[in-house]
Symmetry: C2
Subunit: 402 residues, 2 copies
């Protein structure tokens, strides 16, 4: 019993009050903050299989109460793509698409990706034993991707492999600089070559408008917990009718003694994707808000917040704003050479910056890092945005950087 | 805007009050009901990436605050196995183990499974393009699995394939009859043949005591949302040191232009398994309770509840209790021929049974099915167990089956 008492103590204080007490500017957390509706749904559907109370067909995507079937249709309409399926996470959506295409086109071996792709795009390629070919970026301050370079890399792969690339991936908004890339010209190139085109919208779907038909995207990957105000983890996978039978693969295995078979289960997602309770219900509960907040005028207002901060801090000594300007997506990356200089002699070293912001009620900075900084103003109130800006300037003043 | 208002209406009422108002006997929901501690943690860590506030190494299994590192050690100790990793769900743990073993032993093609294995065990085999060979059960009333039959099937596979099976799987407690199987003799057989042995404890880990060393199990698979009072979805994968390098595979892929690489990320779980917020924190918060409730005396008391119901209803006309008796795991399956007879002329057909129980405040019966019934008394109070029993008898009386 002593051991159990120890455990009780060890796991007794799993509290986290940061959302009430602090302004959180964490680069990947802003888009996943629960809406009040999602929070209510979370509390109601906290138990593991809560969503399956009225499952009649043994398939989560076929549950009618709560309205999952309707929701998948609404989500497909929202992304303007033919079909939507759920997955454990956006990374899993990518893995699954590559696996499906590798089955469909066994000779094609290379995935073309932009050189700012998320690490999970690389891992999805690795998990499928595929090769990659990167589309370069301009480096320097902007890290810009040129659509025309996609065509060059596709041709290079075609030359080297003797076959077309398996898939072309564009990171709609990248994790590092928050750069927005227009998918349309790249989609047109893919159409010309007849290569499937996947838009990784993990950072954009739920934050910015998405229109897959307009982009000629065959696949779109979104993240509920990253950008759609869902508790998650949950991934969204949108796909065109052309690939329906490749993604929605029914099980064919049969027991040699029992003769059991599971023809209604999808083997691509191991039966039902693991999103049975809180992940899916919170995604559904936040969906109306997500539709609202991705309307152009609301999304534009969010861009303004990031650009306001940038305008106000760009003249701090030894600070350089990285990525394309003006910002479209509010995830922002700064090179902070001057803070890095301060860290050299500061008793708290690289942690001083996080400390200084935390003292002012602002959290979400990566710990221990002072030569680079990422922040995200998404969905902060203007008051919070102004307070964050003021605090930033105060800290710069404290270290004589203004 | 009209469209958005429609959406607001459609997703406005995602409520579920069943846990307060009803007694839930759903066969797969009882073990996943949140503890008060997990509920508190769920509310605190509802946001998507909440657990990653203090992630210093970019790996969820290496987070020290909240104490994930400590937790994985405690969980390994609890299951008495060398290592524990987290996955999206138990099904994903199985898929991952088979994938790892298929890489390690490329000539071995067959997975030996008991014929009461969960459908996801079959799907994990199918997803890895492997074959299966089932160990028979006694059918009839008990559906008993004999350990010695594992040896016969292993030899049969060895004869047919010319190599050993890739893996042997035992379903510790099965989904259908809730039969408990002693893993020890099967573990000994696997040791004799030197075949990896996986214990599928999705229904037992968190409900009954588990001791992998005692069982000679190389792998154990548990389900947080099924049996460990976690919101989930979340899977636990326990594995022996012998397989450490097969499960914990670090990424080797590299960008051909960017030179980016991710050697600290595990490509087997796509970087971090998708359990970043609510799934893991609720598993951790419930863990002390899970340790307590799997102590032999507490687990025995839960078996008694199921056996009490069975003892009281077994003489209802046209009812047959399936599976081994007395129950060890409280998941219970009945053949209910007499209810099926009632359904034939009942205006609500097969749904009448669910209606009759619901009128009495009891939910969780599979909808529309009257010829078979599953229930689970796990963690109900004795008062609730007695009320459920009384209601069952009342319904039998109503249709003259006593």
């Amino acid at each position: 019993m002593e051991y159990i008492n120890e455990l009780v103590q060890k796991y007794a204080n799993l509290t986290r009050t940061i959302n009430e007490e602090f302004i959180n500017i964490h680069p990947i957390q802003r888009g996943g903050m629960l809406t009040p509706e999602a929070f209510k749904a979370l509390v109601a559907y906290g138990d593991g299989y809560s969503l399956c109370d009225n499952c009649l067909k043994g398939r989560i995507d076929q549950i009618e109460n709560p309205p999952v079937v309707e929701f998948l249709k609404d989500m497909a309409k929202f992304l303007n793509i033919d079909n939507v399926m759920l997955t454990a996470a956006a990374r899993e959506s990518k893995r699954l698409v590559m696996e499906a295409l590798a089955r469909k086109y066994p000779k094609r071996k290379t995935v073309v990706i932009d050189s700012l792709a998320h690490y999970t795009t690389y891992l999805a390629i690795e998990a499928n034993n595929l090769k990659l070919s990167e589309v370069p970026n301009s480096e320097n301050r902007e890290f810009n991707i040129e659509a025309i370079d996609y065509e060059k890399i596709i041709k290079k792969v075609q030359n080297e492999d003797g076959v077309l690339p398996l898939l072309v991936v564009l990171t709609h908004v990248d994790y590092k600089y928050g750069n927005y890339n227009d998918p349309k010209p790249i989609g047109e190139i893919c159409q010309k070559f007849n290569i499937p085109f996947l838009l990784n919208a993990a950072y954009s779907g739920g934050i910015l408008p998405i229109d897959c038909k307009e982009y000629s995207a065959d696949f779109v990957v979104c993240s509920g917990h990253k950008s759609m105000a869902a508790s998650g983890p949950i991934g969204v996978l949108g796909f065109n009718d052309d690939f329906y039978n490749d993604i929605m693969v029914n099980s064919k295995i049969q027991g040699n003694i029992s003769s059991k078979s599971f023809p209604s289960k999808l083997c691509t997602v191991m039966g039902c994707p693991p999103v049975y309770g809180a992940p899916l219900i919170t995604l559904m509960a936040s969906f109306p808000t997500v539709v609202k907040r991705t309307q152009k005028e609301v999304a534009d207002e969010e861009s303004k917040k990031a650009n306001y901060v940038i305008e106000s801090i760009k003249n701090i000594k030894g600070i350089e704003i990285l990525g394309k300007l003006p910002k479209i997506h509010p995830l922002t990356n700064l090179k902070t050479e001057s803070f890095s200089e301060v860290a050299k002699t500061h008793p708290r070293r690289g942690f001083f910056l996080r400390d200084d912001f935390k003292e002012r009620g602002i959290i979400g900075l990566l710990p221990g890092i002072s030569k680079e900084m990422k922040f995200n103003t998404y969905d902060l109130t203007w008051e919070q945005v102004k307070y964050f800006t003021k605090s930033f300037i105060e800290i710069a003043q404290k270290y004589n950087l203004l």
